[in-house]
């Protein structure tokens, strides 16, 4: 993504767009994470309170996902550089 051919006006607009998209992406990630951890961890509906067992599971689920995201970020950037030439015809 080469931004050097964008004039100053475009660059500002692009920066604002990236900020907006990062916010939206964070919200999406948050919603999906809640959904994932709820689906996997919460199965006891004999009570309306989250049990300590379910709580611990959710905790580990969130931590595990964020660690996955961290690792994937690093590997992804590496792979992106490798592949950029193949994808562009």
């Amino acid at each position: 993504m080469d931004f050097s051919n964008l004039n100053d006006y475009d660059r500002k607009q692009m920066e604002h767009l990236i900020e907006e998209k990062q916010m939206k992406d964070f919200m999406r990630m948050y919603s999906n994470l809640v959904d994932r951890c709820f689906d996997n961890c919460v199965n006891d509906f004999s009570t309306k309170t989250v049990t300590s067992k379910e709580n611990a599971c959710v905790n580990r689920c969130v931590e595990k996902f964020m660690k996955l995201s961290e690792r994937a970020s690093a590997r992804f950037a590496g792979k992106y550089f490798q592949n950029i030439n193949i994808i562009k015809k």
């Binding site: 948050y30 919460v42 969130v62």
Partner: protein, 96 residues
């Protein structure tokens, strides 16, 4: 999503009070999207957890009603807990 119009949540002071229309609209829109997404995810998850897909009848039976109420309460709590955990992790890694 009629609850948005009919039952307004208590007032909450927006951060960075500004007279620029677009910022206020943007924040209001973001909050609206969060609420809508949360509601729709609750519908999906609690349908999965509480309702048998054979659909023996159109009404919700007593068991399903109780399950749904508890499912919604639990989903809300998990939503809050995950939010707080992410905040704590942010402060630790200052990744923002």
């Amino acid at each position: 999503m009629n609850f948005v119009r009919n039952q307004m949540p208590p007032p909450s002071a927006p951060r960075g009070q500004s007279q620029q229309p677009s910022v206020n609209i943007q924040m209001a829109e973001q909050e609206l999207d969060m609420i809508t997404t949360l509601f729709n995810n609750i519908l999906d998850s609690c349908h999965k957890k509480c309702i048998q897909p054979n659909y023996s009848e159109g009404d919700l039976n007593k068991g399903e009603q109780v399950c749904i109420d508890r499912c919604i309460a639990k989903y809300f709590d998990v939503n809050t807990k995950v939010g707080l955990q992410l905040q704590k992790m942010e402060k630790v890694t200052t990744r923002k």
